[in-house]
Every structure is written in structure tokens, then in C-alpha cells.
């Protein structure tokens, strides 16, 4: 299989991209390899989509669609880019389409709704006081609002940069734009976020 990956991979993809190797196995009919990819990337894809659309149910629905597409595209898969680039390109397309369709409006969790289906995050203290919980919730709401207010592409770029720790080049490939465009997107996005969130220091 390694030989095959070495033979097939295009420019910019190293033979060490184990995900691409797994996907090639899926292409060859090895279903368990799909399970491995799913386990490995499920959380990051759902979290990315959740932060994009800010609705847990919609995010999971979109994540399912992402993995469905990955599986159904197995026959035509070619490792011309990193697997995660391809994966997040699908996820980003679906998220942007969902936002444009306004699907998330139907059931968008109110940002100030503490009774959402999201489990409340526990602050480091074992038993947070009511005051601590309220402060945390207030901060969280502010962050969510600030991110939600960003234009869609800026939002996607920030989420990939901050939470997926992607390099500019990979974000550029996911968003199908130039690296300088990504730098510009991120600069403007962080500028907006600094104006809204810097006081939280």
C-alpha cells in the first residue's frame, strides 16, 4: 500500500499522509479503514461545523453528510492533496451552503440560551460556584457572538487556524484561494475579534 501511495500521490502530499493511505484502502474495498478515518476525524469535523453554524444538531447532520460524501466518493478518490484538506473542503462547502440556505435559522440555538442541548462546560474547579458559571457563560456567549458576527469565509479561516491549527497553505487549499488571501482574511478577522474580545484579558 505504501508503494501505491508513493506512486499515486501528487505534489504537496507526502507519502506519510496516513489518512490518504487509509482512504486508498477504502477505495480498494477495505471498509474498516473508513471506520478508522471516521474515528480519527469525527470530532474535529463536528466541532468545526458546530463553530461554523453554531447549532449542535445541524452540525452533526452536516458532519454525517461530510462522511457520507467521503465514503461515496471513494471510487474516484485520488490523493492529490492532504486528506484533511479534502475533508475540510467538503465540510466548509456544506457549512457555507447551510448558512446561505439559512438552514441553521430553523433551529439555531439562542446564544443566550443556557438550556441548549450543549452540555455546560465545567470550569477547572471541581464544583463551580453559581457566580463562576455565570461568568463563564457570559464569556462564552460573547465569544460565540463575536465569531458568529464574522463574515463566513473569515469565520472558516479563523476556526481552521485557531482550532484545527492549520497552516496558511492548507487553509488556502481548503478555501480554494491564495495564501495571501488567507492572510488577509485572518488579519481582518482577528482585527474584528481584537476589537470585540480584547477586554476579556
Amino acid at each position: 500500500m505504501n508503494e501505491r501511495v508513493n506512486r499515486d500521490v501528487g505534489a504537496g502530499v507526502t507519502a506519510l499522509d496516513l489518512d490518504a493511505e487509509l482512504m486508498l484502502r477504502v477505495k480498494d474495498g477495505d471498509a474498516p479503514s473508513f471506520g478508522v478515518l471516521l474515528e480519527k476525524h469525527r470530532l474535529s469535523v463536528v466541532h468545526f461545523l458546530y463553530r461554523m453554524v453554531q447549532n449542535h444538531a445541524v452540525a452533526e447532520e452536516l458532519a454525517q453528510e461530510v462522511f457520507l460524501r467521503v465514503y461515496r466518493s471513494r471510487a474516484t478518490y485520488e490523493p492529490t492533496a492532504k486528506f484533511t484538506t479534502w475533508l475540510f473542503r467538503i465540510a466548509t462547502h456544506l457549512a457555507l451552503n447551510s448558512l446561505r440556505d439559512g438552514k441553521h435559522d430553523r433551529a439555531q440555538e439562542r446564544l443566550d440560551d443556557t438550556s441548549s442541548d450543549m452540555p455546560a462546560r465545567q470550569v477547572p474547579d471541581v464544583r463551580p460556584s453559581v457566580e463562576q458559571s455565570m461568568v463563564y457563560q457570559s464569556k462564552l456567549d460573547e465569544v460565540r457572538r463575536a465569531v458568529a458576527a464574522l463574515p463566513e469565509k473569515q469565520r472558516a479561516a479563523v476556526l481552521m487556524h485557531k482550532y484545527q491549527e492549520m497552516e496558511y497553505t492548507q487553509i488556502a487549499k481548503v478555501l480554494e484561494c491564495s495564501e495571501s488571501a488567507v492572510k488577509s482574511l485572518l488579519f481582518r478577522a482577528y482585527e474584528t475579534l481584537r476589537a470585540r474580545l480584547a477586554h476579556m484579558a
Binding site: 463553530r51 458532519a63 454525517q64 465514503y71 464569556k139
Partner: protein, 162 residues
């Protein structure tokens, strides 16, 4: 070191805040920050953003995520998904029903146009209405001429019988 704020190269400061600079650049910028208030303020503000974003942890994925996914994988792909699936990349999937409706309306229009183009069967009333007075006069003259022609023939017939 050249001041990133003065040279408007704030990307370096962003990379510094996200710890994506190499060790040597990190160290050089660290030293610069001790003397440069503007850069220090930028980095502090960016650090605050970074910390604020850290507050936002995503929830765990539903326990039945995989089960639901495998159920969907086992389900055969519908014709609608086959047709509209590729269009979703371009955000056009929602236009498929609209396009189908437009197609039906277009076909109905074509059918209607074709029906209208077929010449209508001759209609007596319409023909009468279309007759001009001159035509009517000419027709009456012709009828009269015919009736005059028929008279000698009738006489000949009587003569031959006789």
C-alpha cells in the same frame, strides 16, 4: 529587528501570538517586544483573543453518531440525490425542484405553441364572415351563368326524348 508595526508586517505578530514562528524569530521578537509598546499592545490584544477563543469548547459528539451514519451508508442513494448531489457543491441543490418546475412549464409552453401553429380546420361561419361584397356579387353572377347554361341542355334532353 525591524518593528513589525512600523513596517506594517503584523502577520509576524499574529504568527508570534499563535506560536507559529521558528525559535530564532520568536526570540528576536520577544526581545523587540520589551522595547516596543505598540507591538506589545498588539500581541497582548491578540493573546486576549486567543485566550477568549480557548473558552469555547465544543460539546462531545452524540453517542449514536456512528450508528446513524452507517444506517445512512447502507441506504440506497435516491435518484434525487444522484441528480442533485453534484450541484450541492455549488449551492444549487435547492434549485433542482425549481428547475424541474420550470422545465414542466417550458414543455407545456412548447406544446401549446405547437398546437397553436397547426392551421385550424375551415369553418363555414368564419368563411362567410371573411367574404367580401365583391366576392359575393361575383359568386351570384357565376351561379346565374350556370343556371343559364343548364337551360339549353335541359331542352336538348327533351328534344332527344321526343
Amino acid at each position: 529587528m525591524k518593528c513589525p508595526m512600523e513596517s506594517r508586517d503584523q502577520q509576524v505578530l499574529l504568527a508570534f501570538s499563535s506560536r507559529k514562528l521558528d525559535a530564532a524569530s520568536m526570540s528576536a521578537l520577544d526581545s523587540h517586544l520589551e522595547d516596543c509598546l505598540a507591538c506589545r499592545q498588539f500581541v497582548q490584544a491578540q493573546g486576549a483573543v486567543w485566550d477568549a477563543l480557548d473558552v469555547w469548547e465544543a460539546a462531545p459528539v452524540s453517542a449514536d453518531f456512528n450508528r446513524r451514519l452507517y444506517q445512512r451508508l447502507d441506504r440506497p442513494v435516491s435518484w434525487f440525490d444522484r441528480v442533485s448531489g453534484p450541484l450541492q457543491w455549488f449551492g444549487l441543490r435547492r434549485l433542482v425542484p425549481l428547475a424541474a418546475s420550470a422545465g414542466v412549464v417550458f414543455m407545456a409552453g412548447l406544446l401549446f405553441q405547437h398546437t397553436a401553429a397547426v392551421p385550424a380546420a375551415p369553418h363555414d361561419t368564419a368563411q362567410m364572415e371573411a367574404l367580401q361584397p365583391e366576392q359575393l356579387e361575383s359568386a351570384l353572377d357565376e351561379m346565374e351563368a350556370l343556371s343559364q347554361l343548364s337551360r339549353p341542355v335541359h331542352a336538348e334532353t327533351i328534344d332527344s326524348k321526343m
